[in-house]
Every structure is written in C-alpha cells, then in structure tokens.
C-alpha cells in the first residue's frame, strides 16, 4: 500500500493535467486553420481588388467629383489587409504571444482592476478610451491640402505606425503586469531618459488639454444654442451621478439611456432657448468668457469626487461615441455624398494655407495625429487595458484592431468635412484676422484664394449659418463646427430635411464637447496625479491623495498651466488654432516617438532572433522622429513669419521698436510677441526632450544588440488555466477547444 499523502499528491497533479484541456491552440491546428483554401483565396483577392479600385478612384481618376463611398472602401480594404497580413507578421516574429502564459488579469485577478474580460467587450472598452475628439479635428484641418494627402496618411499611417504602436505597447505592458509607459521608460531607458519622458508627458498633457478646450471655446463662442445645450450636460451628468449613487447603483446602461434622452431634449430645447430674448441674453457669450468658464469648470470638476461628474459623463460619452460612429458610418454609406474638393489644393505645395501654415512635409503628419499615429494612446494601452486582457493572443485584435477603428473614425470625419463646399470650408476655418469676420469680407478673402469650383457668395454664408441656427459660421476655427456642418449636411439627407440641419449641427457640437470636457477633466486629474507624484519625491506628503490641500494645489497648478495657454489661444490676434494646433500635433507625435523608442529598446533586449524584425518598430520610430524634429525646426528656425514662431516674434518686435502700427494696435503687437515666445519656447523644450529620449533609446538598443539577449524586464511566465479565442471570428480549432473547456465547466466563456 502506498502512503496516502504521496498517492494523493500524485493523483491530484495528474488529474489536473488530464482534466484541463489545453490553454492554447496547438501549433499544427493553427497551421491547419490558416491554410489557404479556395474560398479564402477568392475572398482576399476580392478585398484586394476592391481596395485597389477604390484607391485608383481616389488617387488617379480625376473627375469633377469623387464619391465618398470610395473612401470607405479604400479604408476598410486596406485595414483588413493590414490586419490580416501585417499585424500577423508582427505577432509571429516580433511579439510572439504565448497563450500558455497567464496574463496579469488571470494572475492577479481581483474582480475589480484585474479581470479577464471578454475580448469583444474589451475591444469596445479600449476603443472608447482611445477615441475622442482628436481624430475628429485633425483630418478636418488637414483638408485644406485637398483630400488625398490626409487620406493616404490616415490609412497608411495607421497600418504601419499607429496600430503598431498601440499593439506593441499593449503587449509589452501586459507582459509587465500592466505597467505604464512612464514606468517602462524609467525601467528601460534609465534615469535621464525616463525623466525626460515623464516631463514630456506632463507638458504634452497640458498642451493637449489647452488645445482641446480651445476647440470647444471656438465652437461655442457667440452660439447661445451651443452654450445652452453643452451647459445642460452638467446637470444631466450630476443627475446621473446621483441616480447611480443613491437610487440604483450599477444600472449604468439604464441611466445612460435616460441621460441620452435628456441630452436630445437639451439640444432640441437649445434651439428654442436661443430663439428667445432671455436665451440670447444669458447664453450669448464671448469666447473669452467661455474660456474662463471652462477653466473654472476644469478646476471644480477635477476636485469633485469622480462619481458625481466624471464617471457619469464618461458613460454618456461612451454611449454617444459608439452610437454616433455607427450612425455616421451608416449615413455615409446610405447618402454617398459626392466630394467636390480636389485631391490636392495649391496649399499642399506652397505651405501657405490659411487653416494652418507650413509645407505638407512635415506639417500634414503633425496636423493629423490621432487617427494615424497618436502617442497619447501609449498611455491608455499601458494603463487599464493590459490589466483586463484574458489571453495574450487577443492583444492583436484589441490593440491593432482598436486603432484601426479609430482610424476609420478619422476617415469619416475627413469625409464629412470635405462633403461641404470648399468655399464654406475656408470661410469657416480661416482665422478672423484673414476673413475679417463679416460675410462680405470673408467672401472677398475666400474668392482671392484661387480655389477651383464656383465662387462663394455672402448669401451662401448667411443662409448656411441660419440653417444650422447660428449667427455666423465665419472663422469658426478648430474643426468641430466644420465637422458638425458636414455631419448635418449628410444626416439631413436621411431624416428631417433642412429643418433638421440645426439639430444635427448642434448634436455634433454637443458630442464633441462631451468628449472634450471629459478629456479636460480626466486629463487634469492625471496631470495632477503625476505632479503630486513628482513633488512627492521632495515633499512626501504630496503623494498622499487624501490630503486635500495637496490635491488642490496640484490641480490649481495644472489648471493654471493649460488655462494660460487656452487664454493665449482665445485672445491670439493671429487666430489661435492655426498657430497653436501644430504644437498639439508635435506634442502627440513626440509622445509616440517616446513610446516607440521604449518599445524599440525592449525588442532589442529580447535577443538576436528579434533584432531582425526591429525595423517594424524602427520605421515608424524614425518617421515620427523625423517629422516631429523637422516640424519643430520649422517652427523654431523658419525665416517665414507665418511658419516660424521666432521669425514672427522678431517681425512684431521690430514693429514694436519702430512704433509701426501697420501690423495692429500696440496691444495686438504685444500679444503676438508674447504668444510666439510661449509657442517658440514650448517647441524648443519639446524637441530637446524628444532628442534626449531618442538618443538614450538608441544607446540602450545598440548596447543590447551587442550584448545579445538579456533581461528585458518581463515578469516571469506563469502557466495559464483558461482559454479564450484570439480574434473576433473564432477558428475551428478555437471552437473545438472552447467546447472542451465548456465540458470541463472551467471555462468562463459565455
């Protein structure tokens, strides 16, 4: 007779090994499922052909107009091919996920922060966290160069750069227990590189919040309808917060539906309120008043408890995001607007367009950041999402696939913006300094641009403004109003006719404002938290989150930072968006360069086997480094005043010294001198930080390549005890495995 304990142990472990089905699809099954069959080949040939036809229609066929449906086909077919082929190369050679390894969600499962989450749900979560107002703004501004440069960059950029960054950062963060990109930078790049990366992310946060707030201010200035409906989001969110806290905790979908209905009521009501005298008196606000309102709001919102305002508004914005995107995609396919904007305008070559200045290379690539390559995503991909991934192989679907979806949003924004008349587009997006602010002067300006197509008349501008319930649409810069007009233009053809234009316009404004206010509030909190952490190194008390004075001081500092830039932007005599937006793009791409540099160094440390595939990261890294550094150099050193901040600074300084008032009144000159100095200084800081990070990463990578494989900071592997399919569509082997797990009763699949 054997001893009970030994027998028990032996049977126990053997039983475990026998009872548990495999946690990963076997390699031969995977190969069997990915074998090329005739139907598969035919489908992919069809996708490739459709994509090729769509690209031909966009890039080579030069008719009077081009149908918007080709944008959709070109985008979707390219995404499918990029996802099916390129992301698989990244998976197989660069990342090499292993489903036998447990993810942080499985190892540290606590039911709250670490929860193995259904891949489709996590895809939605991740998408909601990465997609905001960014992809809706950049493409609209870039439309001044014609539709083709922006379209190519958004679609090709996402496949080769943006989605690669999101996917690899997500993967490596997951392999490190969900570490943030800042922590990974410190681990991999050491103290200098890590510190530079953290300072850069703090500054970037400030710039991004300021510019997004500027977009909202420009959309709401002198618009009682917009101010009323956006202001109503606050009581609606407070109501939702109280409802969830005290009435029905956890009924999030229910309260979001209620909030959505109230929101629609607020938009409809806004139209009525704007028509009354008291509505005009109360909600017709100057842009600087609105800017101060947002600053005060930002401070209060960032110190209020999360449950009261931030969380409910976040639910509302997630709800709206998914709804509006599905709606817009459906509408574009149904309406299929004809696009009259040319593939290239002259501004693509001269670089002297009124919306933003600077030549196509590099400024197109910093103007469109979100949608093609957004460094900010590195913060999300290395934050919440990696703690929720159920299986390693799912990171391709979530990280790469999620970014493809954001790119699609950017394409739809571009289509909406170019579906409106080009003359109206320039009247809306050129700064007031150029359009003069009245219909007559704006028309004179736009018709002097030498655009192709019929010339603009003052009547068109006033009637369009009236149709959307606005006083004026002239110099409504920032992208949001243009997108809103484009959306209204498309949507009113489906339901409601011109009578509904005003509703759809303000619906779009509201939905962008909702994203942006959430980003302002959440961004202030994150920035405050980072600042508390940094100050905490000297004054430990600041690290204590329950110490309110510390929270208030740090919040006030961060709000003062972005508020200052916001006020500069709002009062900028030269326009605001056109001068500040390049900083936003540069900041965002700089963060991308940092994230890619960190990934580059990590891959180099994985060993010789991986170094062969380093170009996958190297190509986007070099590209983004070149564009941010070149754009910064233009902004710092260009002798052309409309492009170089310091050149403009010198020009206005000279005017001030000479007492020349040809450029404007003395206070205007003073404002330009101050603004260009701030912008120029920020450009210098950004470019210095980028160069430091890239040099450090290069040094780390080169020495790692010399030494061969070494510890790259990954957590030790632990065996997984669960199974779930990797992508949206399950393969045969995955279905078989899922069935085995269901039989055991251990699988948590639905």
């Amino acid at each position: 007779m054997t001893t009970p304990s030994a027998a028990g142990d032996g049977t126990h472990s053997a039983a475990q090994a026998l009872d548990t089905p495999p946690t990963a699809v076997a390699e031969e099954d995977r190969r069997r499922d990915s074998r090329w069959t005739l139907p598969k080949i035919l489908i992919w040939v069809a996708i490739a052909l459709l994509g090729a036809v769509a690209w031909t229609m966009l890039a080579f066929v030069r008719g009077e107009t081009v149908n918007a449906i080709w944008f959709v086909f070109a985008a979707v077919c390219t995404y499918l091919i990029g996802y099916r082929f390129y992301s698989k190369v990244i998976e197989r050679h660069l990342l090499r996920p292993d489903d036998r390894r447990a993810t942080p969600a499985e190892i540290r499962e606590d039911g709250k922060d670490y929860v193995p989450t259904d891949r489709r749900v996590l895809y939605g979560h991740h998408f909601a966290a990465i997609a905001g107002a960014g992809p809706l703004v950049g493409p609209v501004l870039a439309a001044q160069m014609g539709f083709l440069p922006g379209t190519i960059w958004i679609i090709v950029g996402v496949v080769l750069a943006g989605a690669v960054q999101d996917y690899t950062v997500l993967f490596f963060s997951m392999r490190r227990g969900g570490r943030s990109i800042g922590q990974m930078a410190r681990d991999v790049l050491g103290r200098i590189g890590g510190t530079a990366a953290i300072i850069a992310s703090l500054l970037i946060m400030i710039i991004i919040i300021a510019i997004l707030a500027l977009v909202v201010v420009n959309a709401l200035g002198e618009s009682p309808w917009g101010v009323f409906s956006v202001a109503m989001t606050l009581p609606i969110a407070l109501f939702m917060g109280l409802y969830l806290r005290f009435l029905r905790p956890g009924r999030i979908t229910e309260v979001s539906l209620i909030g959505f209905v109230l929101l629609i009521a607020a938009i409809v009501g806004g139209g009525a309120v704007a028509g009354t005298e008291w509505g005009q008196a109360m909600f017709h606000l100057d842009r600087s008043v609105i800017a101060w309102g947002i600053i005060v709001y930002g401070f209060i919102a960032a110190i209020l408890p999360v449950w009261l305002l931030l969380a409910p508004r976040d639910y509302l914005s997630t709800f709206m995001k998914i709804g509006v995107i599905v709606m817009l995609a459906g509408a574009i396919v149904l309406v299929r607007p004809e696009i009259t904007v040319p593939a290239f305008t002259d501004f693509a070559f001269t670089g002297l367009g009124p919306v933003f200045s600077g030549p196509l290379f590099p400024f197109l690539f910093v103007t469109i950041a979100c949608g093609a390559l957004s460094g900010f995503h590195a913060l999300i991909s290395s934050g919440t999402t990696p703690k929720l991934v159920e299986k390693e192989r799912q990171t391709r679907f979530i990280g790469y696939g999620g970014m493809l979806m954001e790119s699609f949003v950017a394409i739809m924004a571009l289509v909406a913006a170019i579906s409106i008349d080009q003359g109206i587009y320039f009247a809306m997006n050129a700064p007031a300094a150029l359009t003069g602010g009245t219909a007559e002067s704006a028309v004179a300006f736009v018709n002097s641009l030498g655009l192709t197509g019929p010339s603009l008349t003052p009547d068109v501008l006033t009637s369009t403004a009236a149709a959307v319930g606005e006083e004026s649409i002239i110099s409504r810069t920032g992208g949001a109003p243009t997108l809103a007009l484009g959306l209204a233009h498309i949507m009113h053809q489906i339901g409601g006719g011109t009578a509904m234009m005003g509703f759809w316009y303000h619906f779009a404004i509201m939905f962008e404002a909702l994203f942006i206010l959430t980003a302002v509030d959440a961004g202030t909190r994150v920035a405050r938290f980072m600042l508390q952490d940094s100050i905490g190194a000297w004054v430990p008390r600041f690290r204590d989150n329950s110490w309110r004075p510390g929270v208030w001081i740090c919040t006030a500092i961060m709000v003062a930072g972005w508020g200052y830039i916001l006020i500069l932007g709002v009062t900028d005599p030269l326009g605001g968006i056109n001068t500040f937006f390049p900083l936003f793009g540069i900041a965002n791409q700089l963060l991308a360069a940092i994230a890619l540099a960190v990934v580059f160094a990590i891959v180099a440390k994985r060993g010789r086997d991986y170094v062969r595939w380093l170009w996958i990261i190297g190509v986007p890294l070099v590209f983004t480094a070149v564009i941010t550094i070149t754009a910064s150099m233009y902004k710092i050193f260009s002798p052309v005043p409309s492009i170089g901040y310091w050149a403009n600074n010198a020009k206005y300084r000279a005017a001030q010294a000479a007492g020349d008032d040809a450029l404007g009144a003395p206070e205007v000159i003073e404002a330009v001198i101050r603004n260009t100095a701030v912008q120029g200084t920020l450009s210098i800081v950004f470019v210095v930080l980028t160069i430091i990070v890239i040099i450090v990463a290069a040094v780390v990578a080169i020495s790692a390549i010399r030494r061969g494989a070494e510890d790259d900071g990954e957590d030790a592997p632990q065996p997984s005890r669960r199974f779930a399919p990797a992508g949206l569509i399950t393969t045969r082997a995955e279905r078989e495995l899922e069935a085995q797990w269901r039989d055991v009763g251990a699988g948590q699949g639905r």
Partner: protein
C-alpha cells in the same frame, strides 16, 4: 439527423426566437461594455476565490470603485 428546436416550431416563432437571441446578445454586449455587470463579476470572483470573506453590497462596491478612481485617475484620450 437531430432535429434542432428551431425546426420543430413554426417559422414565425423560430424567427421571433432568433430576434430575441440577437436582442439578448446586443443587450449582453452593451451592459457588459458599460459596466452594469461589474458587480456580478466581482461577486463571482469573491465566491470562487474567497468563499469565507464578506461580500460587499452593490452600493458599497460602487462606492469603493469610485473612491479607487478618485485615488488613481485614469486618462481619457484626446
């Protein structure tokens, strides 16, 4: 050949069942995405892993969760 329940009932009923199936899938997706099921997930986790520990009520759970978000803010993208 096995007869599936869908074959055994008249066509309109089968169709109605299928619609209900889709509706419940959409409902499952939406409520899971929005977070309605977070508490159930947590309770499931507690029951499985810490059967002896007291389980907070749904109200307490959400209070804790919001407090945690206050203490450790997460970013939203631009």
């Amino acid at each position: 050949m096995a007869v599936s329940p869908l074959d055994a009932v008249p066509a309109p009923v089968a169709f109605w069942r299928r619609v209900r199936g889709w509706a419940s899938s959409i409902r499952w997706y939406l409520t899971t995405l929005m977070g309605d099921r977070a508490y159930d997930v947590y309770v499931g986790h507690c029951r499985a892993q810490h059967p002896d520990a007291a389980i907070p009520t749904e109200r307490e759970f959400w209070r804790d969760r919001m407090a945690a978000q206050d203490a450790n803010p997460g970013a939203r993208c631009c």
